[in-house]
């Protein structure tokens, strides 16, 4: 589940309840830093970029530098794997 604001920027949480909620499979398994670097335009809605270009179809694109988002996601997955390995090691030692 992700949340989008009035600029279609994504959020991992909706603490004030002011964002709109969407189920977008692309973001499943993604960390908050990755999610919050993306923009999601739902089907049937329109986003106008600052240079005037209009996009009128469903769109999922980074609004932060994609390489930085990829690094953050890779680190998140590495941390998860490390935690899982440590847990398994603990289980195996019992």
């Amino acid at each position: 589940m992700i949340y989008i604001d009035d600029e279609f920027k994504c959020h991992a949480a909706n603490p004030d309840g002011i964002f709109r909620e969407f189920e977008v499979p692309f973001f499943n398994g993604k960390c908050a830093a990755f999610i919050e670097g993306y923009r999601y335009v739902p089907p049937g809605e329109t986003w106008e970029r600052e240079d005037g270009k209009v996009f009128d179809k469903e769109m999922t694109v980074p609004w932060k530098n994609l390489l930085e988002l990829t690094v953050a996601q890779n680190q998140y997955e590495a941390d998860l794997a490390e935690a899982a390995a440590a847990y398994q090691e603990g289980v195996d030692s019992v």
Partner: protein
């Protein structure tokens, strides 16, 4: 016997300078004007346009704002600025591709407005169009047109900045071709799928660094997708028909008729990705691709 007239040479010089200054202002040049050929040429160039198109093998020494220089040895006999390639070109014609966005956008007129978004340039030589290098002079400096921005156009694949010619391929559960297939025709590609989920992609990968929008124009589209696999167009990290890993995409449930799909790639950066479209099988799911380009 020739007739002679006594004139005030200082006044004549002053008057001619006044006329020359006005011609330079109207023709947007700072060059000196030789009498009479330079005056005649300058008058010919006077116009209400706020730009000029100049050909040659070296850049103009004293360009004015919005001078478009085309690097060519072939005389430019005419020019066209349009989003579509001219249908009836004449030898020497230069076509400047007019996009929908550009960091070099300018007003073509001195009064009122016609906005121009210049992209790349081609010249019609020897019966065919050829890419030509071009630059535009704005804000006191020259800016080069980007190479590699046209991936495919009406039957012709472009070249990557590295010199490789792009090609289109398809992959599906049987490796591509049996179900999802690409057919190259003289003025378009046919992408069709009749056996399952398919991925159509451009090889080699591209970098979107310096570009803001990725576009594909399709015609006679007849694509309807399954709920589990809605159609997608964008950038992928892997050539995997089922899970290509779109990093930026625009989605669709159906594609019909003629339309252009655009994707914001302004923050994708310099990592290279495959340009790809994914859609599932259906009764005659297919579309014609006429152009793929970055701007």
């Amino acid at each position: 016997m020739a007739n002679y007239k006594l004139v005030n040479s200082d006044q004549l010089d002053s008057d001619m300078k006044t006329v020359a200054d006005k011609i330079r202002e109207k023709s947007q040049t700072s060059n000196s004007l030789a009498w009479p050929s330079g005056f005649i040429e300058g008058i010919d160039q006077c116009s209400s346009l706020n730009f000029s198109v100049i050909g040659g093998t070296t850049k103009p020494e004293s360009p004015v704002e919005n001078t478009i220089w085309v690097n060519t040895e072939t005389e430019i006999t005419s020019w066209s600025i349009s989003p579509e390639q001219p249908e009836s070109p004449t030898s020497g014609m230069v076509w400047i591709n007019n996009g929908t966005s550009s960091e070099y956008a300018f007003n073509a007129l001195k009064k009122n407005e016609i906005k121009v978004y210049p992209q790349t340039a081609k010249q019609y030589v020897g019966g065919k169009w050829a890419d030509v290098e071009s630059s535009i002079y704005q804000g006191g400096k020259w800016s080069e047109s980007k190479s590699g921005s046209v991936i495919y156009d009406s039957g012709t694949f472009g070249k990557s900045p590295g010199g490789a010619t792009y090609s289109a391929k398809a992959t599906d559960k049987n490796g591509g071709g049996a179900f999802a297939s690409v057919t190259n025709n003289s003025d378009h590609m046919l992408w069709s799928n009749n056996g399952g989920l398919g991925l159509f992609y451009i090889d080699p990968k591209v970098s979107c660094e310096g570009y803001k929008t990725l576009n594909i124009s399709v015609a006679d589209a007849n694509v309807s997708t399954a709920d589990d696999y809605p159609g997608k167009w964008g950038l992928v990290s892997a050539v995997n028909y089922k899970d290509p890993g779109f990093v930026a995409s625009t989605g669709f449930d159906t594609l019909t008729g003629n339309q252009t799909l655009s994707l914001d790639v302004s923050n994708v950066g310099n990592t290279e990705y495959y340009i790809a479209m994914q859609f599932s099988a259906g009764s005659g799911n297919s579309l014609k691709v006429s152009k793929i380009w970055l701007e």
